[in-house]
């Protein structure tokens, strides 16, 4: 008996919904075995990973807090990914966005700057965009791979952050910790739900989702980006400008990451500190792909990954799971997702051979 993949006439709608569910089930099964092999209580670990985040309002609000930057960055990245523009360094654009936004409260610590918060968001957006466009310029001018350039720029961004925190921007009264002053109140994002840390950056992310949905599914610009990704020679034939796709794909990714970075310092952190490099920029790549690069799918996947983040935190505490195991869980999820994703375009046929 042989297994064959047969291309479907058109993408299966049922598979589009069942593929993520199947991936989740397979991930759970595989991690049950893994956790058991580690000698941990596998049931408790899964309970902590997947259920605990829903069991209290506070932990659920923490899920929403995590979800905001992941969703925002992933929507921006997915636009580029669909045009085969691979911005791998959103982490760098996120950091630069945070840096640029922090400049205002650092130099005006008393908050005597008009429109402080909107200006910070604008600075962050601009910083992230410009940082990403460096890669666009190098790609369109010299053909340098944006994968490598964005990734290396992310490493540079971390060093700029270190320099500022250890040098000029260090809080003089901060006991020599590498962090800036605490931001004034008018530099902080309003809280969305009282008693939680969830702020209005979640609304930014949802707004970005609506924008991405309209553009990618219903606007000609999105159609051009999709064509460039699926069939570059067809885009050339139709006359869609390839450099413009690169500028647009990287620019929008950087814009989203920059706003997310600004929201992070103006939100849960309340200052610029080293922990701003929390890996959102890299995790958002997974979020974008698990969501099938589809704006609606990304809303679901960013929620799921946030649940696993918060659940992972509690699993390391309550079930004694090592941090690495939580990361393996995320990796397994992506792995199984890509596996099941094939079923959307292909169906499996069992080929029974007549015995010779």
């Amino acid at each position: 008996m042989k297994l064959r993949l047969i291309r479907r006439d058109s993408a299966s709608r049922i598979a589009m919904f069942t593929a993520p569910v199947l991936a989740l089930v397979l991930t759970c099964l595989a991690s049950l075995i893994l956790f058991a092999a580690l000698g941990k209580d596998a049931g408790a670990a899964l309970h902590a990973l997947l259920l605990k985040p829903f069991l209290s309002w506070y932990s659920f609000s923490e899920v929403l807090l995590k979800m905001a930057p992941l969703l925002l960055i992933a929507q921006g990245l997915a636009i580029g990914f669909r045009a085969n523009v691979f911005n791998i360094g959103a982490e760098g654009q996120f950091i630069v966005g945070a840096l640029c936004a922090s400049a205002l409260p650092v130099y005006y610590p008393d908050g005597d700057f008009p429109m402080m918060l909107p200006a910070m968001i604008a600075f962050g957006a601009l910083g992230g965009t410009v940082y990403a466009l460096i890669a666009a310029a190098l790609r369109t001018r010299f053909g340098a791979s944006e994968i490598l350039v964005t990734l290396m720029l992310a490493l540079i961004a971390v060093q700029i952050l270190n320099y500022l925190l250890l040098g000029p921007w260090k809080d003089p009264r901060g006991f020599n910790f590498p962090q800036t002053v605490m931001f004034p109140d008018n530099a902080m994002l309003p809280i969305l739900f009282d008693g939680t840390r969830t702020n209005i950056s979640l609304l930014f992310a949802l707004l970005a989702s609506v924008f991405a949905y309209l553009m990618m599914q219903h606007h000609f610009r999105g159609y051009q980006l999709r064509t460039a990704g699926l069939a570059p020679r067809a885009a050339l034939y139709a006359g869609f400008s390839a450099p413009r796709m690169v500028w647009l794909g990287l620019g929008l990714g950087g814009l989203a990451a920059g706003i997310a970075g600004a929201s992070e310092v103006a939100g849960p952190l309340g200052q610029l500190q080293r922990s701003v490099t929390s890996g959102y920029g890299y995790a958002a790549i997974i979020v974008a792909y698990v969501g099938g690069l589809n704006p609606l799918g990304i809303i679901a996947s960013s929620f799921l990954i946030s649940v696993i983040y918060i659940g992972g935190d509690s699993a390391t505490v309550s079930a004694g799971l090592p941090v690495a195991a939580v990361e393996v869980f995320q990796g397994l999820l992506l792995f199984f997702y890509l596996l099941t994703f094939t079923l959307i375009r292909f169906r499996i046929e069992f080929d029974r051979k007549v015995p010779a």
Binding site: F220, Y223, R226, A231, R233, A234, V354
Partner: protein, 499 residues
């Protein structure tokens, strides 16, 4: 006949998914015979050859060699029996010499192999320099290398898949002489083709395939091309008699000493190409592909920008520096030779593929896609051009080559172009669809469109065009009046014997 057939197939069947590619095929090939396998694209010829050469295995049925049943699990099994095959698309490494290519498959010292190659060349009229680099060889010479490589394995049966489709007429003559010499030596030859005249001239037996089944076994010398065609397509050949063109009108496309350096080592440099195309005429560019056809088409469409604006004029405007979209706005349309991935996006629906070039047809409102207009356009195209598909939502990648070509041609025609470039319009398209496509182009001409056709099919060009050029090694011949020239003259230009 007392002697068993060299090769006999009995009730051989093969299916791929839902497609029955071969059904209960019976076939007998005898030594010293040139046996034609005749059929349209998609009739199952290639599948049958893959079964005989061991590339694929039949689902049911039996294969006998000299009366003994055999199972061919892989091509080397077939080669061990004495079956050699020359594929339609050559499998030679361009950066190696002839003898190096041969030694990849045949054991032996290079010097001895070179001698053998030269000897075989003398014996069968397959002359080729053993030490020449393959990328310098003409198509005919490359084919000779492929045949020599097969002959070195001492085959008893030689399979040739559409061997003449890539050759100029002069080389076809030469190939036939070689095949007759091989036949005289007692070799059996399976000759796959859809060209009826060639089969009548060369072959002593013909098996006709249609829809995966053998629909006839005839002596082609006793049938005229018309009755063979009827066996092949299952109905009367459509009558191709076209109204004579009216005198052409104003000039719509002009190439002025168009030159362009090649983009890669294996590309072709175009040099000093002059061409004029006027309203209401079809001009053809003949030649074997790989002589600059792709480069020229990309320059005219705008996918490649010309070095100077004035080298290309569309509707009297200098457009060499403009991109494809700007040229379309002037009334230009283009049907490229690759359908999947260039003329259409395989993963997108037909409706979304309409948008690719027809977006200017009221399909956008402030940049947002108007799905109803897009679908209506697509449905109209499907109906008007007889595209066989479930509907506008079917994905382009799931369609057959001929159907997709009808869709792309239909989409471009529905743009009402003033100038149209059509590249290899009937490559891989069955006869029915090819006839429909040519009729459409002639209708366009009669409505005043200026059409430039690039094609390898000489019959097609003579059927449609009033003027012909030949592209050879990046040079374009002067315009030849189709009524005054002959395939032989065109052939001389194709191999560079005339300039």
């Amino acid at each position: 006949m007392s002697q068993p057939a060299l090769l006999r197939l009995s009730k051989v069947s093969k299916r791929y998914g839902t497609v029955q590619a071969n059904h209960d095929i019976d076939l007998e090939v005898h030594s010293g015979s040139i046996h034609a396998v005749l059929g349209e694209n998609g009739a199952g010829k290639s599948t049958l050859m893959k079964l005989i050469y061991g590339v694929e295995q039949p689902d049911s049925g039996h294969i006998y060699w000299n009366g003994q049943e055999v199972h061919l699990a892989r091509p080397s099994d077939a080669q061990a029996l004495g079956i050699g095959m020359v594929f339609q698309h050559f499998s030679l490494f361009e950066t190696l010499s002839v003898v190096q290519n041969v030694s990849l498959m045949i054991p032996g010292k290079p010097a001895e192999l070179a001698q053998q190659i030269a000897d075989l060349g003398d014996q069968f009229g397959l002359s080729v320099d053993p030490h020449a680099m393959v990328h310098r060889l003409s198509v005919g010479e490359r084919q000779r290398v492929e045949i020599i490589r097969c002959l070195l394995l001492n085959p008893k049966l030689l399979i040739l898949d559409e061997p003449t489709s890539v050759l100029p007429p002069q080389s076809v003559r030469r190939l036939f002489e070689t095949l007759r010499k091989l036949q005289a030596e007692g070799m059996a030859i399976l000759f796959i083709s859809h060209k009826l005249d060639e089969i009548r001239e060369l072959c002593d037996t013909a098996s006709v395939l249609r829809g995966g089944e053998v629909t006839g076994r005839v002596d082609p010398r006793e049938h005229d091309a018309r009755s063979l065609a009827q066996l092949m397509i299952g109905r009367e050949m459509p009558n191709v008699a076209h109204a004579a063109p009216r005198p052409p009108g104003e000039e719509r496309l002009r190439l002025n000493a168009l030159s362009h350096p090649r983009a890669s080592r294996f590309g072709t440099t175009l040099e000093g190409i002059d061409l004029k195309l006027r309203s209401g005429e079809i001009v053809g560019i003949a030649g074997i592909s790989g002589n600059g056809q792709q480069e020229l088409a990309a320059l005219i469409s705008g996918e490649t920008r010309a070095q100077e604006p004035g080298m290309i004029e569309i509707m009297g405007k200098k457009v060499g520096h403009l991109g494809p979209m700007a040229r379309r706005k002037l009334g230009f349309a283009f049907v490229p030779e690759e359908r999947l991935g260039r003329g259409a996006v395989p993963e997108m629906s037909l409706a979304d593929n309409s948008l690719l070039t027809a977006h200017s047809r009221n399909m956008l409102s402030r940049g947002f896609i108007r799905r109803s207009v897009e679908r209506a356009f697509t449905r109209e195209c499907i109906e008007a051009f007889d595209v066989r598909t479930p509907g506008p939502d079917a994905e382009a990648g799931a369609m057959s080559g001929g159907n997709l070509q009808k869709f792309i041609l239909g989409r471009e025609i529905m743009l009402n172009p003033d100038v149209m470039l059509v590249s290899q319009p009937t490559w891989g398209v069955d006869i029915g669809a090819a006839t429909a496509i040519r009729r459409r182009l002639l209708e366009m001409r009669d409505q005043g469109c200026a059409i430039l056709v690039i094609s390898e099919e000489m019959d097609e060009l003579f059927e449609m065009c009033s003027k012909l050029h030949v592209l050879h090694k990046g040079h374009l011949s002067p315009a030849l009046d189709a009524a005054d020239t002959t395939p032989q003259e065109i052939g001389r230009y194709m191999i560079g014997a005339a300039t």
